[in-house]
Amino acid sequence: MAVGIGLVAVTFAALVQVSVMPSFSLFGVQPNFLIVLLAAWVSIRYRREAFVLIPAGGLVLGLLDAEPLGLAMLALTPLIFLAEIREMRLVESDLLPAVILVALATLSYEITILLTLAIEGEHLNMWTSMLDVLVPAVMANVLLLLPVYGVVRLASWDMRQQRAF
């Protein structure tokens, strides 16, 4: 049930990412709703759900974006390891790990895309990439996390309640 809801949510997030998010600009970049949703889900929900939702999210985004199918999925795979680390519960709070997860997942995603540009022969300055893409993208996604985290937390509580009855 939760995985089903999660699949609908990541599909919706991928659609929002390619259609709605380009209209919003934070720190000169567009926030990535899908990464934020997946990180919030991984922080709050269970690892087994993350195992399905992370590749599914990457697959759906890959079908909607301009990159080769599989690239978005590859860029999001480190979240699987991060989900495992999250399950160790090193800190009590869910929000702090979510912030760290969003930052790491954003870096992983953007670095993968930058690497494909480099492979295609583009000369990329590391410093410029950092200032123009990586740092603003992390900041924008962390800001977007706050409302998304609240919604996922509420939805998760609701799903647990339903299961209890």
Binding site: G28, F51, L117, D132
Partner: protein
């Protein structure tokens, strides 16, 4: 790290790699096309529904600017500037013709196909948009895309049956042969990661000033001649450099494209 996690991670990486390799052979193009056909109306609906919120947020972050009015004024300025540029280009071409006393072939590339933008690539390192015309409308890779007002946006880089991806000129991989209209100085307009346009390889002695218009030069054959690119907004010269750096602002607002024109009459020369 648990064995199950490692196994799952390896499996996902392997499947991703397999998909990427298969994509190079266009194996997934029919699937991509089918998904985009289904997704297009949803994406357009979502975009339209969120537009008031986007306008509110953007207006709030750019205090004092009324987005709609600004947009309309920009389009009008762009249209008039484009018209002016074309007239000046025609006048200059006519003068050249008179001087040469010879007849030049009519300008190619005047056939257009109207298209709507329905998606944008989610990566912050690339600048690409999806439009709702493709192979079935005779759209081909390399075709040039303009705004409805007539200034350059980019080129078609991926074509599916019913849709196509356009790489905008602000994309880091984009390079357009260009010239300054007033001085006819040539250079290359290149995109960048932060979305800015820079005209490179402009000799340090060239006369370039703010407000000059930048047009395509047609050199290389990948773009038609005299299409409007933008306006010079800054010139940087360093004493030790051979070239000056010219910052260009596109006349169109490339972050809010809705309708575009594909120049179907222009056949780009194959890149070597």
């Amino acid at each position: 790290m648990r064995v199950r996690t490692r196994t799952w991670f390896s499996l996902v990486v392997a499947v991703s790699a397999l998909f990427i390799i298969a994509s190079q052979f266009s194996v997934f193009d029919p699937l991509d096309n089918a998904v985009l056909i289904v997704a297009e109306p949803i994406e357009v609906g979502l975009r339209d529904a969120s537009q008031p919120l986007a306008d509110f947020v953007n207006n709030a972050t750019n205090a004092g600017q009324l987005s709609d009015e600004n947009q309309l004024l920009r389009q009008e300025v762009e249209r008039l500037t484009s018209e002016n540029a074309r007239l000046q280009a025609s006048e200059s071409a006519l003068n050249e013709l008179k001087q040469l006393q010879s007849i030049r072939a009519p300008k190619q590339g005047d056939a257009f196909l109207e298209a709507s933008v329905f998606a944008r690539d989610p990566s912050n390192s690339k600048d690409m948009i999806a439009i709702d015309v493709g192979n079935s409308d005779s759209v081909k890779e390399g075709m040039v895309v303009l705004t409805r007002q007539g200034s350059l946006i980019g080129t078609i880089t991926k074509v599916l049956d019913d849709s196509a991806w356009v790489t905008l000129m602000t994309d880091p991989s984009s390079a357009v042969g260009a010239l300054i209209q007033e001085s006819r100085v040539q250079g290359v307009v290149a995109g960048s990661l932060d979305g800015d346009l820079t005209m490179e390889f402009v000799s340090e002695t060239a006369d370039v000033k703010e407000g000059d218009l930048v047009l395509t030069s047609g050199v290389g054959g990948r773009y038609p001649q005299d299409e409007l690119i933008g306006q010079v907004v800054g010139v940087e010269k360093a004493a030790q450099d051979l070239f000056q750096s010219v910052r260009i602002k596109p006349l169109a607002d490339l972050s809010r494209l809705e309708g575009v024109l594909v120049q179907t009459g222009f056949e780009p020369r194959e890149a070597n």
